[in-house]
């Protein structure tokens, strides 16, 4: 899949929502009523990715997320259990996180497949696989794939990440057409254990010195064994730059497309069951 646009949008979780509303209004010329932070983050990132172009109407939207709309889910549960009232209609509708992908399609006049998808640790990679499937079957000519998550301000997360917690919205605009592309997502491969993942990495057809990046599921102590496979590789620590959000892998992968011309990224991530997903991204 060839990359025709990228965006990474990070916001501090205490940034005023009105700033996001203004940003989306500037991007789209539209004012969205009754939308939440998750929807605004999604809209702002997606529109930044297409950067003023008119996307092909045959563009599939795949919004990936860990937790979806945290704000409206919390609000709706509060209305029920604390205020003991019926949920407000738009709070309830927006608990269905696919409304964010709907507003992207509506604002860009897209009528192609529209998917909201979750997966522990691998949401963005799985979304790219769905996009590849739709491009292969001719269901879409282009795909807009994003990873969006609000910072989940749980006590555990705040203890672990402190002021590094951010909202993240990162996107790729993809197609099967190479003309005018700025790069490509060439391989997405999954493995069921460390040994097969290392073996798969060793056998990958890659340039001599790829850039390695580790997702949040890879402990620091594990880095060495991956670097040993290709000693010339350099490590990109986007987790330090992009800090934490459920969409951190999306932020890391999409962010690579700025300032890494001529380089290939191998992004390695692991879920809690010990499964690995390796993704390669090349910037022309």
């Amino acid at each position: 899949m060839y990359v025709h646009g990228t965006a990474v949008l990070l916001r501090a979780p205490d940034d005023a929502q009105t700033a996001l509303v203004d940003k989306v209004r500037q991007q789209t010329g539209l004012y969205f009523r009754r939308v939440n932070r998750f929807i605004l983050l999604s809209l702002a990132g997606a529109h930044q990715c297409v950067a003023g172009r008119t996307p092909d109407p045959a563009t599939m939207v795949c919004l990936t997320t860990e937790n979806g709309s945290v704000q409206d889910t919390e609000t709706t549960l509060g209305q029920l259990f604390h205020e003991r009232s019926y949920p407000k209609p738009y709070n309830f509708i927006n608990t269905m996180s696919n409304t964010a992908a709907f507003y992207i399609a509506q604002s860009m006049k897209l009528r192609s497949p529209n998917i909201t998808l979750a997966a522990i640790q691998f949401a963005f990679e799985r979304g790219l696989e769905l996009a590849r499937t739709d491009l292969n079957r001719g269901a879409a000519e282009y795909a807009l794939v994003g990873g969006v998550d609000e910072a989940v301000l749980s006590e555990a997360n705040q203890c672990r990440f402190g002021d590094r917690l951010v909202d993240g919205s990162a996107w790729l605009y993809l197609s099967r057409h190479k003309t005018h592309a700025s790069g490509e997502i060439a391989q997405i491969r999954s493995f069921s254990d460390t040994r097969s993942a290392l073996d798969g990495y060793a056998k990958m057809d890659l340039p001599a010195d790829p850039v390695l990046a580790f997702g949040i599921g890879i402990a620091d102590a594990e880095h060495g064994q991956w670097q040993a496979v290709r000693p010339g590789s350099r490590v990109l620590d986007y987790r330090g730059r992009y800090v934490y959000s459920g969409s951190s892998a999306a932020c890391g992968i999409c962010g690579f497309f700025k300032g890494h011309e001529g380089q290939t990224l191998v992004h390695i991530n692991k879920d809690r069951l010990g499964n690995y997903t390796l993704l390669t991204a090349t910037v022309y």
Binding site: V61, E66, N67, G68, V70, T73, E74, T76, L77, G78, L80, F81, R84, S85, Y86, P87, K88, P89, F92, I93, T95, M96, S97, N98, T99, A101, F102, A105, Q106, K109, R111, S112, P113, N114, I115, T116, L117, A118, A119, I120, F122, A123, R126, E129, L130, T133, D134, R137, A139, V152, S154, A156, S190, S192, D193, G246, D271, R272, L273, T277
Partner: protein, 391 residues
Amino acid sequence: MQPDVEQSVFVRGKSAVCALGDQLDAIVAGMRDATINVTRIAFEITDPEAGRPYYLMPGGYRDRWPDVESRFHGVLLETVEKAVADSGLSAVDLAGAGIFLGSTSMNIPVFEAGYADEKTGARDYFTQTASGFGVIAAAVAERFGIHGPCYTFTTACTSSANGLLYAASMIEQGQLEHALVIGYDMFNLVGFYGFESLRLLSPTVYRPFDKRRDGIIMGEACGAVILTARRGSKGDFRILGGANACDTANVALHDTGGEVIAGVMKAAMYAGKVQPDQVTAIKAHATGSYHNDLTEANAIRMVFGDRHAPVTGIKPFVGHTVGAGGVLELILFTECIRAGFLPPTVGFQEPDKELSITPLMTPAPAGAGIFMLNYFGFGGNCTTLMITNED
């Protein structure tokens, strides 16, 4: 790697639990006999005098688990276990399978139990404890030793229908050999009170396409199927293809003209290499809401004209099971055909001239054929699948 020839995709193992029980033979017998198990549930939190009908799983089944959390996982894992057993595939066969889970409510019932508990029901309980929608599929993967990729779809009432579509597409393209597709929505207060806040819940009986239809009646269900490139037995259904798209008319309503939905039906037939006159019957989404039935009826007439194949709806038997409906309705529809009949749209009595659709009112004989399955949902989602039991 792409295969030179597209793989066929078979529906090989299946299991479901819904208001009609947890045994497929008994569920099908109930559908043949027009059995309806509806419970009235009061709005205890807001208005205890008021209530709405709901299709709960049978009490003797759901009461086997002592609390919401154990029931949530128990129903899910037991349903998957039965589907795996029904497929005849081994644990080794399924180790690399993909898991495709579709749900509207995800594990919100578990969080609701936390809010209802005085010890944990403080503000922000969801924010404090949420660990991602993907945990449900991950629990299935862990329990059954499946290491393939997990995809959790949250596209409202098309969630598990989209799971079926992408699982079938990935098998067809040679990306996967097997897939476990699950549709699961358990009774939850957010959905029950939320749909009431939208004034969408019927206070009476379920009667899609009827002139007096007055809304949806919700239901809880879990369904699981194994899709595979390997045929199990001669009667296995095949997924021929499908399509999905977004109707951007309104976040909660489709364009009542039906143009986008008609486009999805046509695209699904094109993907399945099916002509309109080859369609044997249509399982409509048939929610029973005024707008949805109008939209779907307009779309069916746009695609097929006035001489369309028999149309029927499953929801009056099991309720609107939202995200679970994709898998559940596929199972019930195909099991009825396997038993030799197309299920009727029970509850339907009075045709609506505005719709010009009269669904099946009694069971009709069924055999080999090509069938269209429609699913629509909030967020503009439209999904249509084409299936067949022909050789």
